[in-house]
Symmetry: C2
Subunit: 245 residues, 2 copies
DNA sequence: TGAGGAATAGACCATTGGTCGGTATAATAG
DNA sequence: CTATTATACCGACCAATGGTCTATTCCTCA
């Protein structure tokens, strides 16, 4: 086999890309290392030059996810015009929006992300994301408590709850995307909107705010995005769903 | 090898017991099928006579866990003297108590249950438990809404939140047990108590109850149980921690 | 008693994550 | 422009894993 040398950073990035595609479509356990290196077009030796184990590859992938997610909300965090409530709302709305758009972008991908075989990958991503986001949330809540907007005795605890809600939303979204018929989809979207409304009110009350203060994205936004995507599915999603084993 | 025939039900139960011990101590992935059948003293053929796969064994184990858990709260569910709030409180208290006592009973076991390698097992148990408990919770909440005790527009959603809180508590308990020094333990217990207080108030507010209505077990209970166990560790826990690989 | 199914044994298999000795290429020094 | 070293890469090899298969023994019941 001809020996192909690439810039290490590029090679590493490629490896992560192929691993991501395979892990997401087949699950971390089912996607074998040989699959990954075959897709990336490298040898065993080359792989183990970059990562000490398959596990480490997963870890690196999760970290990259988390890094990207955090980068996506950096503007909200930096905006000096926002007060704590506004910042929290903007953060929630943005992460929800990102979630839905990612889902719409990679439809078939998301359909599988929540299947049991993807539990490990999913959990690792969430772990990494939590590690990144928790301090940020805590800081926002602390500030809100300080200036009297929020009323709670446990900022870390509330931050955890917020992230729990975020993760749970994932599940509901997954159900929406997993639904077969359009009628099912409609029901699932309805359930998602209802759940989000519940989370909004729950957060309002946990933070001691008047009902309606927390607003996680526009109602109806999900339906609009998904309807648009259904009508005009992305090519990547179609490709992913085609290559079944 | 001499051929030993046992009553199928007994054999199955034995298999589950040995699998449980091995999965909990070493994790689902790391505990190999050969380990399990060696511990159970049977052959490959015998194993596959009972379970179609290692996965199925895990599934059966999770189901047994969930069944036992549900059986443990049956009296609370059946008690006609309890109103919805009382029933919910009793349920929460009991499940918390069971959690802590299980943890104390199988100390070393719990220390490992929340390690990453046990994620799969843990998730399966929770999945099965959720499936059992969710309808029960929904029913209690519905009744509470009906008689005016609770105020919420989404009983299923609130039930989900309650179970999310339960699962999150797991994590905090795990941290408590994972702590090395006694000082660390003290801090972790403090954090646990704080978190439980937060969940209580959060549930109060989500359900539209006056603060202090929901009471998940006695404060200080955790510390008492754990102190007692630390002083007098159970033999099974000691054995489990001894047999490292 | 004997036939047939349930229960058990263990050799065997493909695949998996991981190791290892070696080779080509890039970077650096002389 | 070499010589040397470090890095990137290759692929044969390995033990262990989950799973299959055939053969045997045991129990049941007609």
């Amino acid at each position: 086999m001809p020996r192909i040398v690439k810039h290490p950073e590029l090679r590493r990035e490629e490896l992560l890309n192929h691993a991501q595609a395979l892990f997401l479509t087949h699950g971390y356990d089912k996607a074998s290392l040989n699959d990954v290196i075959a897709a990336a077009g490298i040898s065993k030796g080359a792989f183990y030059h970059y990562f000490p184990s398959k596990e480490a590859l997963l870890e690196a992938l999760a970290e990259r996810f988390a890094r990207q997610a955090l980068a996506g909300v950096q503007d909200v965090l930096a905006d000096p015009a926002l007060d704590p409530l506004g910042r929290l709302n903007a953060l929630l709305a943005k992460s929800r929006q990102a979630k839905i758009e990612t889902a719409a972008e990679a439809w078939a991908l998301f359909e599988t992300l929540f299947r049991p075989e993807n539990l490990v990958l999913f959990h690792r991503i969430n772990l990494a994301a939590s590690a990144s986001f928790s301090p940020v949330l805590v800081e926002i809540i602390r500030q809100g408590v300080e200036d009297g907007t929020f009323r709670t005795f446990d900022a870390e605890g509330v931050a955890d709850i917020v992230m729990q809600f975020g993760m749970a939303t994932h599940d509901v979204i997954a159900k929406a995307f997993a639904s077969g018929s359009d009628a099912d989809l409609e029901i699932a979207i309805e359930a998602l909107e209802k759940r989000v409304r519940l989370y909004e009110i729950a957060l309002d009350r946990i933070l001691g705010l008047p009902d309606g203060s927390i607003r996680i994205g526009e109602p109806g936004y999900v339906r609009a995005v998904m309807a648009a995507r259904r009508a005009n599915p992305s090519p990547s999603a179609a490709a992913a769903s085609r290559k079944s084993r």
